[in-house]
Amino acid sequence: MKYIEEFREQGLARNIAANIAAEVDPGREYRLMEFCGGHTHAIFRYGVQDLMPGNVGFIHGPGCPVCVLPMARIDLAIRLLREENVILCIYADLLRVPASGRQSLMKVKAEGADVRMVYSTQDALKIARENPGREVVFFAIGFETTTPPTAVAIRQARAENLGNFSVFCNHVLTPAAMTGLLDAPRAAGEEPVQIDGFLGPSHVSSIIGSRPYEFVPERYGKPVVIAGFEPLDVMQATLMLIRQLNEGRCEVENEYTRVVSREGNRKACDLVEQVFEVREQFEWRGLGHIAHSALRIRPEYADLDAERRFAALADADALIAADNKACECPSILRGAKKPVDCKLFGNGCTPETPMGSCMVSSEGACAAYWSYGRFRQDAQAASA
């Protein structure tokens, strides 16, 4: 597969690893946060950590839309199913995310709620067309990457006069999350997390470009390298960060130039701009309420906005759901803890029985650690 397999090539990996090994300063630690779950996944899936010197460590960031979705939003979707008897269209990633009271969309589906898994917003529109007598709601989640397809669907529903379709919007904004992340420890009164630099979002940046991250070096003094999701991309971006740190540079660089430009995809951004507006604030799991960090549907499309359309969502903003107290997702999403620091990890919380959202998405730090990395933990424990 062109533009995929070349970026997973073992010989090149050894070469980049050699470059990194040659260039790292053995006298210091490099604590690099990979912002996206896609990076986390590549690191674990391919064993990238094994190719790194001991003083280069990855901190897993909050860049997984499933992991950062607050439980209250799933609770609201369940309410919508139970009280309004809608057909709820979801991306399959949402199916197992824990809601309050040990519920999940999978469980309410098993009890008879009409939850349909879709691959694309086009499928949701199709379901609406095929069920004119039912209300069909698309549960929109995702970062800037996944938002434009939702915008297309909303405009298409309007054009087709599809009266039974609406969208429960949960799209969030990554630059705001970075702000939240960098401000959070201070806000929470915690020790600031030691992050030396960021591997910046890959596919998000294909839409918004690299420019929106420039505030990170400017305001927070941390270098950013936009990195693709293939393992060689991650390694090369790591090398680029190490070089910035070694050279005392602090800027936004772009490793993923084959897709990402500084400006991004104007057509997609314009579409998003027409349909959505920025919310005052929105809750992120682990990061709390972050100002201007999410999108809502513009008043011009109010009829397509499930939050305005259904009584069950009337107090959507007000609903707060308390996460399992022992779950360390919040700290993990902030990079302050590792999955193994959680008492529940493997001890009640596994991918089959996730207690926190980081265990659900295969891009979540806990799930990635569980599925690919456990033997390391045991090896460490054994050797300790």
Binding site: G47, D50, V118, S120, D123, P351, G373
Partner: protein, 349 residues
């Protein structure tokens, strides 16, 4: 004495008729369905008797019995249908003990409204698979459930067979040092099924690998009689099967990603949908675990069989109190290959 009985008032309307509740009532409509559709395709001396059981001679020895329910969607897919699959799925479970399959039983649960024409295609598919395998369906049952209480057709097949003397195959016999082989490319069936699911539709040349493996097993046993484990990596794919065997045998496994045969199109489809071929279902492949010294002979025997041309040694059994299946990635790293959590579903992230 000549019979003047007129069996049925008209012919079963196979071309445009539908299954209705009377076909499951046990009355004359049931009898007609069995005679004009099931028997016509699956015909053999034992089934034709029309008793509630089949009777046949067996030699003294070790018998195996296995049953599988088939509840797939879609019912027809590139490379097969639920009828053929129901034959292969159960024959393979019988064959995985090293046995020679003898007979099959088939139970059909039909949903009211199911087109008789589709049912006939499925029964024809089953008959063709049974004939090709040389294992007849000798007894069966048909029930009809109300519309909305089934999903077209469910088929439960049960098979029996005899294990040749000296063969000792079981899931708990893997030993550290044993070699792990697969008989060919993985993920073909699951990808073929997904490619024909509504909403996912993509184009690919991949067809299901659905096939009966008992002749392959016999050939391998001829070359390497001391096989420890055989299992067909169906639901949950290769990863699940290896984890099952590791748990049953209380061992660990180490496999090499580069050694696992996967078709290009399967790799492509998995990339597109965010799936891992290790967890995708197969219906005509087996995992074989044998003492390392016999691995070469087993591999050669597989490769000499039409269903094993792409067989490969993919790893070895190791000691491991965690019963982990670990894999060396093509990238040179190490990862765990864990049990499947939930279903494999196309993801956005």
């Amino acid at each position: 004495m000549t019979s003047v009985e007129k069996r049925f008032p008209g012919r079963l309307p196979i071309r445009d008729g539908k299954v209705d509740m009377s076909h499951g009532s046990g009355g004359r409509a049931s009898a007609q369905l069995i005679e004009e559709l099931f028997l016509r395709h699956l015909d053999n001396d034992l089934l034709r008797r029309g008793d509630d059981s089949a009777q046949f001679g067996v030699p003294a020895g070790r018998m195996v019995m296995s049953t599988d329910c088939h509840v797939i969607s879609p019912l027809f897919f590139p490379g097969g249908d639920i009828g053929a699959l129901a034959v292969h799925g159960t024959l393979n479970d019988v064959a995985m003990s090293g046995a020679t399959p003898l007979y099959l039983a088939a139970g059909f649960i039909l949903e009211e409204g199911f087109p008789l024409a589709d049912l006939e295609r499925i029964v024809a598919g089953m008959a063709a698979a049974a004939t090709a395998a040389g294992v007849p369906v000798v007894t069966g049952d048909t029930k009809v459930v109300e519309k909305g209480k089934g999903d077209g057709v469910f088929i439960t097949t049960t098979g029996i067979g005899m294990v040749p003397p000296g063969v000792e195959i079981a899931g708990d016999r893997a030993r550290p040092g044993d070699a792990i082989l697969v008989s060919g490319t993985i993920g073909d069936h699951g990808v073929a099924i997904m490619s024909s699911r509504e909403n996912l539709e993509f184009d690919t040349t991949i067809t299901s690998d659905s096939a009966a493996l008992h002749t392959l097993v016999a050939q391998v046993l001829g070359a390497a009689p001391d096989i420890h484990c055989l299992r067909d990596p169906t639901r949950g794919g290769l990863a699940t099967t290896l984890n099952e065997l590791a748990r049953q045998s209380r061992v660990g496994m180490r496999i090499r990603e580069s050694g696992i045969p996967v078709r290009g199109a399967v790799k492509s489809a998995c990339e597109l949908l965010g799936l891992d071929p290790l967890y995708v279902a197969n219906e005509g492949k087996l995992v074989c675990i044998c003492p390392a010294p016999q691995a070469a002979a087993a591999l050669a025997a597989m490769r000499a069989h039409p269903l094993g041309g792409e067989a490969a040694v993919i790893g070895e059994v190791v000691e491991d109190p965690h019963h982990f299946v670990q894999m060396e990635t093509t990238f040179g790293g190490q990862r765990i290959v864990d049990w499947l959590a939930g279903e494999q579903l196309p993801r956005i992230c």
